[in-house]
Every structure is written in structure tokens, then in C-alpha cells.
């Protein structure tokens, strides 16, 4: 963090204003307190102020209630992760206070609801304590019936004061949020906000002002990963989907159910996971790439049908929002343990494409990429995201939608002849021709899961099985040759190369920055195309003594983790090793730095 980072100094005089470049605010309460709403407002405000923002939240797996946190990091410079330590902790309850004080950096500010929290005398020496009777003052501001409601907005007012946030912009955001509802709700919200904003924090605390953002790259949009994925699929031209509710995938299906009809499409809630992938494949066979998705156990259930789409060469997009597994596992925690099932799940030799977005912006663009790969190569594409990207809010440069949105309506004009599994295609790539297309030769194709000849009729010929197996493999090798080699973050030669995929990109880059600042020779790459892998990784690995694959999954029986195992199989290079963890939480920067150091130390002995 830069020298202008927030620091609180006890001061006896009048409140002073310090310039800061970034701040990490952790809001801790119960899930029904609307703390996500405070975080959401802050994130959206940052987006509108062309600041960088990243959030992180945890939710209990219970239906209603239970402790929950929302962490938001706002910066005028680049924000890579939601931050290891908070500058400010907002604590609504005793359990929030006691459970999260450790996440606050020493000397940080804890702003607590003095109606519910009894400060600990020892901690008051280490952290700056500001008690406000939030619950009572909220009731005072908006009336007695709103006992618990509105205190989140009151708190937003306190934060706005503390960070000298742009009040008109926040009022506008509050107005947008409560638009269309009973006007008294909006009035109450604004009353709570202003009461919080005008509450005197006294002279015990300084206030802060963000330095103006250096970013001048036009407008930003602010959303979470699941929203970005849903909108990306729409931009890609997807007009049909089917799914079954499961956390954390459900948000995408709800979004598509709501939005697709505007575009003439629909999203169907099915009786189960198998029906949903089958319906999506049926629609894909019908001529237009369709989407299904799931999390955890739902992905396991879909694998047989996925194998059919691979065999029959039908375009399909499957979204996997990973959560802790196996079985029901940890539904609301993050894990990257589905890489193996995504790449290899199912019986038989069944090559498919797996791509992994690294941030919210990627969710949007890689949804489009997935659709285009599926269409071009007539193959299922799995987008492997995770609970952390799904729920975190980021700001990114607004896409040029006029340019990005595409029409993928099927072309049903007659063709002279068509072989869906034409073996003369040198690169193995053939195109799906949808029903409704007149084939002038009078020979019509069958899409099938049986091994088949070029028209899709069943065969037991060993030669055809070999040729068709090779065809399904070859087309992905063709795809591999078109994929971009990942860019190296840091110098292209050095001691340690950190390799990541998915939601860990930010903490890994920050770990590189931190290690390099400490004089260590560390670089990183982030792999977004998992299966097939892009060409050229071996050249990158050649520049380093250690290749450490950072993943949120178990090291496995042989000690390499899931991507690590894949890279070992691909390159057979003993310097590839893993940094793995399975605590259900995102990587902290210091965890990566420390584990990398430890790994290199033991690794050197082994070498």
C-alpha cells in the first residue's frame, strides 16, 4: 500500500482531513442487516467516480440470518484484491466485533454500534474505537417501527462523512435503489442517510478524502461476476438456457430468466440437472448455442450428457460456479476443485474446452469467447468460475455494446450436401447444420452418441472409432494453436514463477509486487485457457527455477493440486509444484508470499 494509505491518529484538536489513495472497509453484521447493500453502494459510488473497487463477501449457508461480512476496497490506483487487512471495521454486534477485530490492521478504526457492542479494554489500546448508538439513532431518525431496518443506510451516512464521499452521487444511488417502491421507503432511507451523515463523529477522529483517480478511461460499470457472466452470454447472442437452482449458480439463471424474454429468448427451470443440460443441448442441436450451468453436485450430474455433446459435436456452454466439494461440500465457500471434472469428467475419451475467467470483466468477455469457440469448433465449452468471482463486485471499463453484441441466429439456407462428421476436414473442425436446413442430396445427418460414420450412422468399425476419436481431439489441438500465450507479470526470467487460474489473479499479482518490493525475484502468469492449454508455456517456465501453481484445492495424492497436475502431465517438469489450500476462503497476499518462500526453501533442498 502506498504512503498515502489511511492511517488514524488520535488527535485532540478539530477533525483533520487526510488525503488517502485507498481504503479497505470491512462491514460485519448479520446477513439480514443489509450490509451487502452498504458495500454495494460504496462499490457503485467508486465505479461512478472512476475509482477501482473490489469487494468480497461471506454469507452463511443458513436460509436467513447468521453472521455475514462484506469487505470493500476502494482505491484511486489499481486494486488487485479485496485486501488482507481492513483499515476500518464496522461492527454491528458483539460477535461481529470480536470475530473480526483481527482482520483490522493495528491502529485501524473500529466503528461500532454502541447499542450492541461492549468494547474490550485491551483492544481499545491497539485500535481506534468510535462508538455510535447506531440502532437507537436510526430509530430516532426514521421512527420506531423500523427497528432494524435502515441502520445500514444510517451507517452508510457515517461512512460517507468519514470518507468525505460525494453526497449527491450517493443520494442518487439510494434513489435508484428504492425507485418504484412506496415513496415513504425512499424518504425513510434518505432520512436515515442524512441522520448518519450529520452525526458528529466528534473530534476524536480525522476524516479522509480520496485523492482523485488517475484513471481517465471513460465510464465504468459496476457489477458482480455472475451478473457479468449473464450479460456476457446475452451479448454473445445466447437466447436459450436451462438450469436447476443451486448456490452460487442460481443468480445467473435468475438473471437470464428475467432478461432473455426481452431478446425473444427464454430460460427454462427444469426438473433436474440432467434435464437442464439435455434441454440446452437440444436447443443447441436446434441451431443456436444454448447455456446451462451449475455448481458442485450439479456438475457431476451433467457429465453423461456432456459426453453426448462431445460425441455428437454439438455446441454448448456450461457454466460451473465452483464451491467447496466433494458432494454437498461447502455451498457458500470458494474452492477451485472442479478443474479435474471440468477437463476430464465423464467416461471415455471426451475432449472439451475449459476456460477460466480471472475477474469480473473476464466473466463478461469470456462468456462471449465461450460461445464463439463452441460454435466454431462444435464442442461444449465449460466456463469455470467460482464463488469468489461470482459474488464480488468490481468496476470495469464499460464495454462498447454495439460492437460487442453479436447475432448467432442459425443459418437455415439449403445446402447441397452435409456430413456432420466429415473426416476430410484436416483440422478436425466440422460445423453443425441445424434441423430445418434442406439438404439437397436427400441424405440427412443423425446426431448421435454412438460411434458413427461421417453421416452419423452407427458403426463398430475399429478404424472409424480411431479416426473419429482423433478428429474430436485434433480440433482442440487446432484451437490450442490459436490461443494467446499468457502475459508474464514481472520479468520473464527469475527465480520463482507463480502460476494461477481463476479468481486468484489479484492476490497473486499483489504477492509478486510485495515480494519484488522485498528484493525477491518473483513473477507470475495467469492461465485462462485451461483445456486445451495455450502453446508456449514451456518457454515461459524455462525462464524460472521454480514454477509454483497457486490453487484453492487440495495438493492431492501426488502433491501437485489440479492445475499443477495437469501442467506436470503436460510438461513433465519436476520444478512444477503447488501452493494449495482448502480453507474455503480466498488467498490472502501474505499467505501466497509466505508459502512461496517456504516452498522455495524446501524445494531447494530437494533440488
Amino acid at each position: 500500500m502506498s504512503e498515502a494509505t489511511l492511517t488514524a491518529q488520535p488527535s485532540g484538536g478539530s477533525p483533520k482531513v487526510s488525503s488517502i489513495s485507498e481504503a479497505v472497509i470491512r462491514i460485519a453484521g448479520n446477513s439480514q442487516d443489509g450490509i451487502q447493500a452498504i458495500g454495494g453502494f460504496l462499490a457503485r459510488l467508486a465505479g461512478r467516480s472512476e475509482q477501482e473497487v473490489m469487494t468480497h463477501m461471506t454469507i452463511p449457508a443458513t436460509i436467513s440470518g447468521g453472521p455475514s461480512i462484506f469487505q470493500v476496497r476502494i482505491g484511486s490506483g489499481e486494486v488487485l484484491s479485496s485486501g488482507d487487512e481492513a483499515d476500518v471495521l464496522l461492527a454491528f454486534y458483539q460477535h461481529s466485533y470480536e470475530g473480526h477485530i483481527n482482520s483490522l490492521k493495528k491502529g485501524g478504526i473500529v466503528l461500532y454500534d454502541s447499542d450492541h457492542v461492549q468494547p474490550n479494554a485491551d483492544w481499545t489500546k491497539e485500535y481506534h474505537h468510535v462508538g455510535v448508538p447506531i440502532s437507537g439513532l436510526t430509530v430516532e431518525a426514521i421512527g420506531g417501527t423500523a427497528k432494524d431496518k435502515g441502520k445500514n443506510i444510517y451507517t452508510l451516512g457515517l461512512v460517507a462523512k468519514m470518507f468525505d464521499l460525494n453526497v449527491p452521487k450517493l443520494e442518487k444511488l439510494i434513489g435508484e435503489r428504492f425507485t418504484g417502491k412506496d415513496p415513504s421507503i425512499l424518504n425513510n432511507a434518505l432520512a436515515a442517510f442524512h441522520a448518519g451523515y450529520s452525526h458528529s463523529l466528534g473530534n476524536v477522529i480525522e476524516t479522509f478524502k480520496f485523492v482523485e483517480s488517475q484513471k481517465k478511461t471513460g465510464h465504468q460499470v459496476v457489477m458482480n461476476g455472475n451478473e457479468a457472466m449473464g450479460y456476457g452470454l446475452i451479448a454473445a447472442g445466447v437466447r436459450f438456457g436451462a438450469g436447476y437452482p443451486i448456490t452460487p449458480w442460481s443468480d445467473i439463471m435468475e438473471l437470464l430468466r428475467r432478461e432473455l424474454p426481452k431478446y425473444g429468448g427464454s430460460f427454462i427451470q427444469c426438473e433436474d440437472e440432467i434435464a437442464s443440460i439435455s434441454m440446452a443441448i437440444g436447443a443447441g442441436y436446434g441451431g443456436r448455442v444454448a447455456v446451462t450451468g451449475s455448481s458442485g453436485p450439479g456438475i457431476s450430474l451433467k457429465t453423461e450428457a456432456l459426453g453426448w455433446a462431445i460425441m455428437a459435436e454439438i455446441p454448448l456452454v456450461v457454466v460451473d460456479i465452483q464451491r467447496g466439494g466433494p458432494s454437498t461440500g461447502m455451498p457458500t465457500n470458494v474452492e477451485q476443485s472442479d478443474l479435474n471434472i471440468a477437463c476430464f469428467g465423464g467416461h471415455g475419451d471426451s475432449p472439451r474446452v475449459v476456460i477460466a475467467p480471472a475477474n469480473v470483466e473476464d466473466c463478461f468477455y469470456m462468456a462471449i469467447e465461450a460461445v464463439n469457440i463452441a460454435r466454431k469448433y462444435s464442442v461444449p465449452v465449460i466456463i469455470i468460475s467460482d464463488q469468489a468471482i461470482a459474488t464480488r463486485i468490481e468496476a470495469f471499463e464499460e464495454p462498447n455494446l454495439e460492437k460487442v453484441c453479436q447475432d448467432i441466429s442459425p443459418d437455415l439456407s439449403p445446402v447441397a450436401d452435409h456430413k456432420p462428421y466429415d473426416l476430410s476436414a484436416a483440422d478436425g473442425v466440422t460445423r453443425h447444420v441445424a434441423p430445418g436446413t434442406r439438404i439437397m442430396s436427400g441424405k440427412y445427418p443423425i446426431a448421435t452418441g454412438l460411434e458413427h460414420d461421417e453421416l452419423g450412422h452407427p458403426t463398430g468399425s475399429p478404424k472409424l472409432h480411431m479416426q473419429m476419436t482423433a478428429k474430436r481431439r485434433k480440433k482442440l489441438q487446432t484451437l490450442a494453436s490459436t490461443l494467446p500465450t499468457p502475459k508474464i507479470y514481472g520479468p520473464s526470467e527469475g527465480n520463482v514463477l507463480l502460476v494461477g487460474w481463476g479468481s486468484t489473479e489479484g492476490p497473486i499479482k499483489e504477492a509478486v509486487d510485495r515480494a519484488r518490493a522485498a528484493g525477491e525475484s518473483v513473477s507470475s502468469i495467469h492461465i485462462k485457457h485451461i483445456n486445451p492449454l495455450p502453446n508456449g508455456l514451456d518457454n515461459i517456465f524455462a525462464g524460472f527455477n521454480h514454477v509454483l501453481v497457486v490453487e484453492m484445492n487440495d495438493e492431492g495424492l501426488y502433491g501437485y493440486g489440479q492445475l499443477g497436475g495437469l501442467l506436470r502431465a503436460r510438461f513433465g517438469d519436476p520444478k512444477i509444484r503447488g501452493i494449495n489450500k482448502t480453507d474455503g476462503m480466498t488467498f490472502k497476499v501474505k499467505e501466497i508470499v509466505e508459502k512461496a518462500r517456504a516452498n522455495v526453501a524446501t524445494g531447494l533442498r530437494k533440488l
Partner: protein, 313 residues
Amino acid sequence: MSSTISDIPARGGNILATPALDTERKGLTKKEIAADHPTWCPGCGDFSVLALYFKLIEKRKLWHEKITTVAGIGCSSRFPYFVQAHGAHYIHGRALPFASGISLSRPDLHLFVFGGDGDAFSIGGNHFNHTARKNIKMTYVVMDNWVYGLTKKQTSPTSPLGFKSKTDITGALDQPVNPMKQAISAGATFVARTTHTNPNHVLQMMEAAMDHDGFSFIECLSECVEFYEGAFDSSNPRKGGVFNTVPADHDVTDELAAYKLAGEPFPGSFGIFYKTNRPTKNANEQKIISAAREKVKDLKDWQILQKNFDRLK
């Protein structure tokens, strides 16, 4: 072309173009419709169903490209390979949701699903119920032979009690599924029963099913000469049985009367047991689409998305 199918409006923005039909085209001949020679055993009841499907295509002047034949896994599910038209041979038990994906995104196609009793009532039982209750437009013909034939004589969900198979050597123990009751109680809007030994009746039922706007289900008894010979003799006048059609005074819209018919002891009645008009899933979705499109009718797709993005700033 049946008016019920051609009248369904094409979805806005979903299908590029429905190729203009060449009105001069003659109906297809059997030779043009037949593809691979069926792999079924000589004497199999499925031959009759295939022949009558060809006849339906000829009679109703359906074109190759407008027919989509879908099946799951089983002897009868080999069906699509024998038809010279677009078709798909999907996985075991899941033909209905696959076909639903086609039906809901391609209202311009005639969609027929063929399968057996294992596909429909065992591995795919749940899909049968849900496709019926959703009333997704398609015709589903189950060739019921009361036995697993492709895997060589194991008990099927419709095997009668006491039927001796390789998996029930002392006779089937589990109460068999009654396909007609199942279909009626699941909410199918067209439920009919026929048998392969009465070709005219099979064709009649197929035509009526095709013209029904909704999920139309036909149970067609289809004898497995290899593993359950003589199973349906008592329904075949040529074998000394009786072929009773549904009584003339039967009200096909009366669900309870239909359920009673379905409860008759074998051979029971043949014909349309139940038929009702309930909005299809296709129509209900179209309604949601029309209402949503009305609000954005002057906008291009990217402009609709832009409106969302403007709210996310």
C-alpha cells in the same frame, strides 16, 4: 402441414429465417424417407410403427428438413437412423428434455420422439412426468414391449407381475407402471393407446397426436418376439384376442373416466383416452416474450443491454 404447427409464430430474433416452402414439392415417397435398414429382429412390432411413421410423413406431406426424430436408448430408440430426416439419438432416458430444448427454441419443426418402456418409465420416468405437466409441444410414441430387449430380457417397469426374466428368475415382483394412468396423472394433454397389430389404428392415433397442440403421448404395444413372445396375443383378433376401441360415449375431456379406462384389465381399450386443451409451455413462454418485447420493441438487442448497463454505473 398441420395448421396447429404452422400457425405458431416464429420467435422474434430467435430464428433467422424459415426457408420458404416450395409449394410445388410433391410429398415424399417411402423410398425417400427410408434410411438404414432397421436392426430389429424379424417379426418385431417396431417395424409396424416405423412403416406407419413413413405413411404419416407421406400422407401429411412433411418435408425431410421439417421433421426431427428424436430417441433415447433401447431397441425402439434406434428409430432415427431408419428415417431419412434430421434426427438425434440421445442418451438413455433423456430424450424428452432434449426434445424439449428443440421444441421450445424451434417452433417451426415437427417433433416426434420414439422410445421404449425402459426409457420412458424407468430411467426417464421423472422427465416423462415433467414434460407432460409442462405440456411441451411434441409427439411421444412409447413402443411398450414389457421387457428390456436390447440388453436381452431383464424386467422392465411395465413387465407384469410374475414375468420371468434374467433379473427376476422366479417372476417379476414389483407392481408394473400403468403408462396411461401415469400420463393422465402427470398432466399430459393427449393420451392414447394403440397396438402394432392394428396399422390403421396406429396411423389414426399418430395423426391425431401430431395435430394436438401440446404434449401428445401414445402407448403403442409392440411385441418383442425374441424375449416376450405372445405378450399381447389377447389384444390381437388374429391370435384369438379382442381389440376393443374406446367406447363411443367416452368423454375424452373427462379425466376420471379416462383414468377408469386406464384401469381396465388387459387387453383393455384402444384409442384416445384423454384430450384436453391447456396452454402449452411453448405458448406460455411466447406470452412472456411478447410482453417483454412490447416494452423494448424499438430497440436493437445491444440497446436493450445498454439500458441494463446504464443502471450499473
